[in-house]
């Protein structure tokens, strides 16, 4: 197992390198000048002298590969460079913002799993029943409904019309009531995906020979489904958590914008508007690295859950 983890970590090195290269190469495609935007005040316009100075100070006049190595160095130093806007280390801002995203993502994930797993199981067991049809229709709507639209409708209904929940904002450091609407918005679409997955893996599992074998032993349906089928069907669902996480991060861009949730998605959008390149690159890189490690963890979890793989990697 340890060997497997080390192996995986070593394999990560080239990927991480490519990831930094991709994140950085975003700089290549810049039209326009970030200095211009950074230095444009609320009044409008930027001072041309200041713009030139800024370019030199930020090393934007240097050859692109030097800029890359400078950036790599800052990554190794762990600060990911300094924001054009605040002049502070990018990593500080990202960490404080990621905290908010993570909070939201976890609650969304919980909501999503709480809805999707029972629903997926029931749908599979009672295939083609009313409950199956309804939940599958719901799941389809869930994946098809753009979450920005859903978010707006939720605000309109629950916050503005009914006044039950806050419209937006982070509240007191991201308290629960401020989290409900964005978490539901984020969670439902991933719930939709997970429900479908849960149902299909469950369907696949209950048609396996070993399920028949379990029935042939005289086990009750509850044991057959709850023990024999579920244990197998949950494995792919667990691996979906990694993908789900990416899905939540993606969704956070839109959802955080709508709900003014000060997470990394909103930071990204803001940084793009502000052309804060170190911040954009930092966000992209950070999110990628997080995602890589989440997937690594999921893989390890997966090998742990599935004895077929667990014992192969042991040898």
């Amino acid at each position: 197992m340890l060997k497997y983890i080390i192996k995986r970590l070593i394999l990560l090195i080239p990927i991480l390198f490519l990831v930094t290269l991709i994140s950085f190469s975003l700089l290549f495609i810049i039209p326009g000048d970030p200095a211009e935007t950074i230095l444009t005040g609320p009044g409008g316009g930027a001072d041309p002298k200041a713009v030139e100075e800024f370019r030199i100070k930020m090393g934007l006049d240097k050859p692109i590969y030097i800029q890359y190595f400078t950036w790599l160095e800052s990554i190794l130093h762990g600060n990911l460079g300094y924001s054009y806007q605040s002049k502070r280390p990018v990593i500080d801002t990202i960490l404080s913002r990621f905290h908010a995203t993570l909070k939201l993502a976890i609650v969304s994930m919980i909501i999503s799993l709480m809805i999707s797993i029972p629903l997926g199981i029931i749908s599979a067991i009672k295939q083609y029943s009313a409950i199956d049809n309804v939940s599958m229709a719901g799941a389809l709507l869930g994946v098809s409904m753009p979450n920005f639209w859903q978010g707006l409708l939720l605000i309109l209904l629950f916050a503005v019309t009914l006044g039950w929940l806050p419209v937006a904002g982070y509240g007191d450091h991201g308290d629960l009531e401020h989290m409900i609407l964005p978490a539901i918005t984020l969670g439902t679409s991933s719930a939709a995906i997970t429900t479908r997955l849960m149902r299909s893996t469950m369907l696949e599992t209950i048609n396996q020979d070993y399920i028949q074998a379990a029935r042939a032993k005289g086990l009750s349906e509850r044991v057959v489904i709850g023990k024999h089928a579920l244990k197998n069907a949950l494995i792919p669902v667990v691996t979906m958590i990694g993908l789900n996480f990416a899905y939540l991060l993606d969704g956070s861009v839109v959802v955080e914008t709508i709900f003014a949730w000060p997470g990394i998605g909103l930071l990204m959008v803001e940084s793009i508007y502000l052309r804060d390149y170190p911040m954009i690159q930092g966000c992209i890189l950070f999110v990628a690295i997080i995602f890589i490690f989440v997937n690594l963890m999921v893989d390890i979890l997966y090998t742990y859950l599935d004895p077929r793989i667990r014992y192969e990697t042991k040898e």
Binding site: G44, E53, S83, V160, E177, T257, L267
Partner: protein, 575 residues
């Protein structure tokens, strides 16, 4: 099945608990406002006396000292409040603001604007709500020579951290701006040195004669900071009416009353700013009662919000002018008559009515809105919507519908114009779209293209545009030189974009910059305003209105047209 019901039940319980937790909590009351007119003044003292005399009915607010009894002590207490000896029961305000910064250091970029809005920092001079330049931390100034300004300082001021305010602090603060590492130091290049003359006098020496010197000290980048703060990025010690309590980047900033404010008693006890970039969300938060005030509410929501009994919308013209650069290097826009024709073709009232929902702005005459003391609008005629005039001007330049297809032709092909603009300001796109419609009405084939700001800037700089709709704060420091010399002096950066050059205008601007007599300066600037209107290198569309939604319980709020000052010592909340 049973299991699912259980799970659903748990979800329902959790959601229920969440809902219960979200119930609003009660807030403060204006104790002392015995006659409930939302101000505390002598009338309240009289009113309490009347209550004691049983001529008026008791009420809760009359118990100013909150000891449970209404007696003469309350009269004295109210007097104390009026005199500033007793704390004003001003409560707290939560505001949904638009922008935020990752730092609180006023000398970094335009962070000064944001911390000033929170009432933390102050400058030597400031513009009041009528854009009149007034001393703030200075008591006045004296021009020693063309290049030497002696500024005398207040002697009764201390910073929030207890450090006394003096010439050293001023020299320290301004030198932070002049430092090479400051991204805005080039704007203050005209200053040669800042020196302490004595404890409460500093001398600013400029490289050459520069009339806007004093006005430039109103920019919050020159906020005076305490020299004893370790990290101005996360801590703040200014002289303003409010002290920083907590700052969570991108989320919120909270401030509390500065009990030692030199400007007199501060009514509000504390305030919280929540940074919400989305205008719709700000409006909803205001309506839902999550905030007491919301800056920059969407124009489409203004009526709805104003229509609510507990909410008000205050609006006021700001110094933000929306205008179009005209590419005067490109035919036929190089012809002044064509530019004038476009000016006539634009129906500014209609733009305000449609693109701005009738509340978002005021039709522009020229560059400066009328709230600006230097505005010559009263003496200018401007371009009133006149399609006939527009068509005849165009005809003069040979632009007519030669092939009878309803589209004007220039040089054998349809006369086409593209308006380029950007989307970060929500007014730009609809405005451009309406202008396009208006140009179409007189037969110009027009269309809108949007870019993001850097791309647009680049295209404009390359001369790759016809018309470019922009928004500028035309006089953030209240001095006309800032905008006019950039945009209309041949050497000005922005004039380079339009290609505008007029030696007369150059002369006037130069003269105005080195003249210290306000009357003489006004004459020059009036001439400039007349001339650029005539030459139309830029087409002025409208002046943006600031729309602030607030709860009727919030008192004392005034909109400052320069969008710099927001929270003041006079505001309070009666809720």
């Amino acid at each position: 099945m049973k299991q699912t019901i259980k799970v659903l039940g748990i979800i329902a319980v959790i959601v229920g608990i969440m809902l219960l937790a979200s119930m609003p909590t009660a807030s403060a009351k204006l104790y002392g406002d015995a006659n409930v007119d939302d101000v505390i003044d002598e009338a309240d003292m009289t009113y309490v006396e009347q209550i004691i005399a049983d001529n008026e009915e008791e009420n809760e607010l009359a118990d100013a000292n909150q000891d449970g009894e209404i007696n003469l002590l309350d009269v004295a207490y109210i007097e104390g409040i009026i005199l500033g000896d007793k704390p004003f029961p001003g409560g707290t305000i939560t505001v949904a603001m638009i922008f935020f910064k990752e730092t609180v250091d006023p000398a970094v970029g335009w962070t000064g604007w944001y911390v000033r809005k929170a009432g933390i920092y102050e400058t030597l001079f400031a513009n009041d709500e009528n854009m009149v330049l007034t001393p703030e931390l200075a008591t006045g100034y004296e021009q020693v020579s063309d290049t030497e300004w002696e500024i005398s300082l207040r002697e009764d001021v201390t910073f929030h951290d207890g450090t006394p305010f003096d010439a050293d602090a001023v020299v320290y603060s301004i030198n932070r701006v002049l430092d090479e590492s400051n991204s805005r130091h080039t704007e203050y290049d005209f200053i040669e040195s800042v020196e302490k003359k004595d404890d409460y006098t500093v001398t600013i020496t400029t490289e050459e004669a520069y009339a806007p010197t004093i006005a430039s000290l109103t920019d919050p980048v020159t906020s005076i900071v305490s020299p004893n703060v370790e990290d101005l990025g996360t801590e703040a010690a200014g002289t303003g009416p409010f002290k920083l309590v907590e700052f969570e980047p991108a989320v919120s900033m909270s401030v509390e009353r500065n009990d030692n404010y030199w400007g007199g008693p501060v009514k509000l006890e504390s305030a919280t700013f929540e940074y919400i970039t989305d205008p719709q969300t700000r409006a909803y938060m205001l309506e839902a009662g999550e905030v007491d005030m919301a800056r920059g509410i969407p124009q489409a929501e203004a009526d709805i919000i104003d229509g609510k009994s507990d909410l008000d919308v205050i609006s006021k013209e700001t110094l933000r002018t929306y205008f179009m650069y005209v590419n005067t290097k490109k035919a036929p826009l190089n012809n002044v008559k064509v530019r004038q024709a476009i000016n006539y073709a634009i129906n500014r009232e209609q733009i305000v009515e449609t693109a701005l929902e009738g509340v978002g702005g005021v039709a522009a005459k020229s560059v400066f809105p009328s709230v600006m003391p230097w505005s010559a609008n009263d003496d200018l005629e401007g371009y009133l919507h006149n399609q006939t005039e527009a068509l005849s001007l165009l005809a003069d330049c040979g632009i007519t519908d030669t092939d009878g297809d309803g589209v004007l032709d220039y040089d054998g092909s349809p006369f086409e114009l593209t308006i380029k603009t950007y989307t970060t300001r929500p007014e730009c796109k609809p405005t451009a779209e309406v202008i396009v419609e208006q140009l179409k009405e007189i037969g110009i084939k027009a269309r809108v293209e949007t870019r993001d700001i850097p791309t647009l800037r680049e295209e404009v700089a390359e001369g790759n545009y016809d018309l470019a709709l922009y928004a500028w704060g035309v006089a953030p420091i209240g001095d006309p030189d800032y905008f006019l010399s950039r945009h209309f002096e041949s050497t000005g950066n922005e004039a380079g974009l339009t290609g505008y050059s007029n030696t007369e205008v150059d002369d006037w601007l130069d003269a105005a910059r080195t003249t210290f007599d306000d009357k003489a300066r006004w004459d020059y600037y009036k001439q400039v305003q007349e001339q650029i209107l005539e030459d139309s290198p830029e087409i002025f569309v409208f002046y943006l209105n600031e729309l602030v939604g607030l709860n009727t319980c919030v008192k004392g709020y005034v909109i400052y047209p320069n969008e710099i000052t927001f929270l003041t010592k006079d505001m309070y909340n009666t809720a």
